[in-house]
């Protein structure tokens, strides 16, 4: 189906490029030289270097095995709390991202039509000058707000934000509204923190709502959950699919999509009606403790049974079991839960359940609402304040979405505003390490938004779909080839450092943003000589040398002080199950039931969800992951397949209101008869991805755009499709 390059082949190819580097200079390469001095590599250039993974956002610590200037193996770093010596399949295959034969290794400037894939090679000088002059031109003609900037969560993001805010644009697209806006907004409003930390040490009862931990792997947390189950903790798992997490759960509830909050509200009803909560805790720390029982009285298990399809006595029993586990119970916040417009309410109900069990008391509780100030003690670089930005944000934050935090934004609305030109027209788009053509719902509309742009530039390591539609592609060094700012985790700050020389002309984001900043007259926001100087400035207050950090892999941070007092960073200083803020914004102050949309006759819920071998839309071209991934097919229950006259292996056409896709059918008992499921991230448009192109179909081409008015979250599962034989 796709061409494969043997490991031997790519070792040869790499050897050729390594030879080219050494021929070009009489001195040993900088990375190898530094590593030799630090004692990490021997005279032959073999050894081990610590750094950090970037195959997902969990950022495990890794140890790279280097042989003759090439990475030959990655191991989990036992000293890093996110990896504890392990790496997941994506982490293990990380070197194939770096050695991907489809890497972009020089700046490229488009010569054909957009989307035709015709580019010419250019020098950094030419490419950067062109990008800066185009950006400046748009700023001069339409104002800085006509430039849109977007990037997905990464370690050099502070410098990306410097570029956008110093440039003066309010238009910032992140992946957040496509992912965890509902969870973060709900927890900010209820506990005053973005994401409570989870602790599995003493957990006895875990409730997971669509958090497919065994496939959407966060190495250390997946491991902790696995060990908790092993020692006898109960896992109750709500998901319309029998995922690998479902197969490890004590109890799998194949709930009707979009109705999780009804299930949870009924649990709250049982707990409050029967006075099963930790009353001392609730009285002391919860706003709404007097009225919650009455407010929840309508959400009886019998009511929830009608909606969720889960028997009332099952809900009642689970509520009682959960309450009985008291401080050792955990309702996991997850990322996206069921991905419906009511997901915010689902998260509010989860936050409430945790408050009722009193498990949020302290660090070390199953769910900790207390967050130590991470990164305290690191040096902060000098920079001037940002210019005042008065233009409205195209994504409607906060003028349309008053409760959505500015740093989260509403990416899908930003895209829609580009198409409509309302409230003003955007003309340029700067994209770094992101693939909005694949990640935003309604791909056709995203491509339409691209067509409205005078200028698009993408920074990436491969020719992803967005780069394919860009005017300039700037080649970034891969995570094994570059420095990023230090990452504080607990009482240590970990380093991402190059373990090999960047291939070709690839450069770090720190370098690219600084170069552009200087060309745009914004050099004051990038006050570092180079990447090493940036990290040295971060390390300055700690009195630790860069060499020591490079060799150890981390710097120790001063002990953060916690005073033992429990405070919640909300308006009342308490857990706001009843939220005045929500009320004032015109929303229900209580966690509440919102009826989700339902599929019509002959329609299915289109579900999406992770597999352990891929991360979002960026790893399908990794040959090692491709090798060990299942063929991406459309899941359908045998009963539904029979009704439609379809059988396993048939090519089918899946149609939604906004698009259609052709894909091979997988008939499986592991899904509800009213749902179909697609692995996200396949069906790439870029022919520059030679491994991934032509594999599977795109769920983004089918997804409708629905935005939750409270959290700005995109309701990814609120798309209904018909299926017929292709």
């Amino acid at each position: 189906m796709t061409s494969t390059v043997s490991r031997r082949d790519f070792l040869k190819m790499g050897a050729a490029s390594a030879a080219a580097i050494t021929l070009g200079t009489m001195l040993p390469p900088k990375v190898a030289q530094a590593a030799r001095q630090a004692g990490q590599l021997n005279a032959e250039g073999d050894g081990y270097i610590s750094s950090m993974c970037e195959m997902c956002v969990w950022r495990c610590g890794l140890i790279a095995k280097i042989k003759e200037g090439r990475v030959v193996k990655l191991e989990g770093n036992p000293e890093h709390p996110h990896s504890k010596g392990k790496l997941c399949p994506r982490g293990q295959s990380g070197l194939m991202n770096t050695y991907d034969p489809d890497r972009v290794l020089t700046p490229l400037i488009r010569v054909g039509k957009r989307g035709e894939g015709l580019f010419r090679k250019a020098s950094w000088e030419e490419a950067l000058d062109l990008v800066a002059s185009k950006m400046q031109g748009i700023k001069d003609q339409y104002g800085p707000e006509a430039m849109v900037f977007s990037s997905t969560h990464n370690l050099s993001q502070p410098l990306f934000e410097n570029l956008l805010y110093a440039f003066g644009s309010p238009n910032y697209g992140t992946q957040r509204s496509l992912c965890f806006n509902a969870m973060i907004t709900a927890f900010l409003l209820t506990y005053g923190i973005e994401e409570p930390s989870r602790n599995y040490e003493n957990v006895e009862y875990i409730l997971m709502v669509g958090r497919n931990m065994m496939e959407a792997i966060s190495t250390s947390e997946t491991s902790e959950l696995s060990h908790a189950i092993d020692r006898g903790a109960k896992l109750v798992y709500l998901d319309p699919r029998y995922t690998k997490t479902a197969s490890k759960a004590t109890e799998w509830i194949p709930i009707r999509p979009g109705t999780d909050s009804a299930f949870l509200l009924a649990m709250i009803n049982v707990i409050t009606t029967n006075k099963l909560a930790d009353c001392d805790f609730v009285k002391k720390y919860v706003v709404g403790c007097d009225d919650i029982q009455e407010e929840m009285s309508k959400y009886t298990p019998a009511w929830a049974e009608q909606i969720t399809g889960v028997p009332a006595d099952t809900i009642e029993r689970i509520a009682r079991e959960y309450a009985a586990a008291a401080h050792n119970a955990m309702a996991h916040p997850g990322w996206r839960t069921s991905n419906f417009i009511n997901s915010f309410q689902t998260e509010r109900a989860i936050a409430t359940l945790n408050a009722l069990s009193g498990n949020v008391l302290k660090l070390g509780g199953c769910l900790s609402a207390e967050v130590a100030a991470e990164g305290a003690g690191l040096g902060v670089l000098n920079q001037p304040p940002y210019p005042r930005i008065s233009a409205l944000r195209l994504d409607g934050t906060p003028w349309k979405y008053p409760l959505v935090p500015l740093k989260l934004g509403v990416f899908q609305e930003l895209r829609d505003a580009i198409v409509s030109g309302d409230p003003y027209q955007a003309h340029g788009w700067f994209i770094s390490r992101q693939n909005p053509i694949m990640s935003l719902p309604d791909r056709g509309k995203t491509i339409e938004a691209f067509s409205k742009m005078e200028f698009i530039v993408t920074v990436d390591i491969i020719m992803n779909d967005t780069a394919w539609y860009s005017d300039v592609v700037l080649p970034e060094a891969s995570y094994l080839e570059r420095y990023d700012p230090l990452l504080p985790v607990g009482d240590k700050a970990f380093i991402r450092q190059p373990v090999i020389e960047p291939q070709g002309d690839a450069r770090s984001a720190l370098w690219i943003y600084k170069q552009l900043g200087e060309r745009l007259g914004l050099g004051d926001y990038f006050q570092y000589e180079d990447e090493e100087d940036y990290i040295k400035q971060q390390l300055a207050p700690l009195g630790v040398s860069l060499e020591e950090v490079k060799s150890k892999g981390y710097a120790e941070l001063p002990e953060s002080k916690t005073n033992g007092q429990i405070t919640f960073n909300t308006a009342s200083g308490k857990i706001e199950v009843y939220s005045e803020t929500l009320k004032n914004a015109g929303f229900s102050p209580w966690p509440t039931w919102e009826e989700p949309a339902m599929p019509g006759e002959n329609e299915f819920y289109l579900l999406t969800g992770k597999v352990a071998q891929q991360t979002q839309f960026g790893t399908q071209n990794n040959q090692l992951l491709h090798k060990y991934s299942d063929e991406p097919r459309l899941w359908m229950n045998p009963k539904s397949a029979r009704d439609l006259g379809l059988s396993d292996g048939n090519w089918v056409e899946v149609t939604s209101q906004v698009g259609n896709a052709h894909v091979v059918l997988l008939v499986t008992e592991a899904i509800r008869p009213d749902c179909v499921y697609m692995v996200p991230g396949y069906g790439h448009l870029s022919k520059g991805l030679k491994t991934a192109f032509g594999v599977g179909a795109s769920d983004s081409a089918l997804h409708l755009t629905y935005t939750d008015p409270i959290s700005g979250s995109q309701a990814l599962s609120q798309t209904f499709v018909t299926v017929k034989k292709a």
Binding site: K86, C88, I217, S247
Partner: protein, 259 residues
Amino acid sequence: MTEIKHKAFIFDATRCIDCRACMVACSVENQIPMNKTRIWVSGLGIMGQFPDLDRASIVYHCMHCNEPDCLSACPVGSYTKRPDGPVIYDPDKCIGCRYCMNACPFSVPHFDYDKGLVECAFIDKCTMCPQRIDVGLAPACVATCPTDALEFGEREELLTKAHERIKTHPDRYIDHVYGEFENGGTSYLILSHVPFSQLGLPELPESPINETSEEIMGMTIPIALGWGALLSGVAVGVNLYNNNKEKHNSTDAKAEADK
């Protein structure tokens, strides 16, 4: 059988999440070509009918048998069993006859056409990562397993641990450690929540197959010699009889002619 004293793996099917980190790690560590693998997923996968479902799958590679059938089947001595556990294949001796492939009850050794023709390394299989275990590291697959479904250590200790697990959670496991006795004991021990046959594992006698086969093969010479001697005796007898008969006949004929 339990006195086998060397390294082994233990695999717990209740802990495996089928993430395939082990497969990728093995591929990278051992530089396996993109179209090949040394670790496989086996088992029935999802079983039952919605919503009463169960899942049964394992990852497996060479079992590193204590009495390796590949070794006893190999006519040229390409296989050796290291005292610390690994069953090692030596491509320099291999003639590509594939007897090992037929002999292995787990169908582990597989033929490598690309390497076979170019490098005369015909067979490929798991090595237990000697390059790692010799310096005190766990094999690549074990080292990265996020849920500790795979563990590595002294076989005796792992067996004790396995039986302890079964004892602690009798409701969770089938009361049997696959590989403790199967085929004379293997170095890949398996704990499961479903019958082992559902994981694609063969039912094998406790005595190693090659014990019987070697016993039978050991009789080749006595049988060959005995059979030969018997046949020679018969041949001599028949010959004598025929000669006598001929003589008699010719005598008779002569007598007749004389008449």
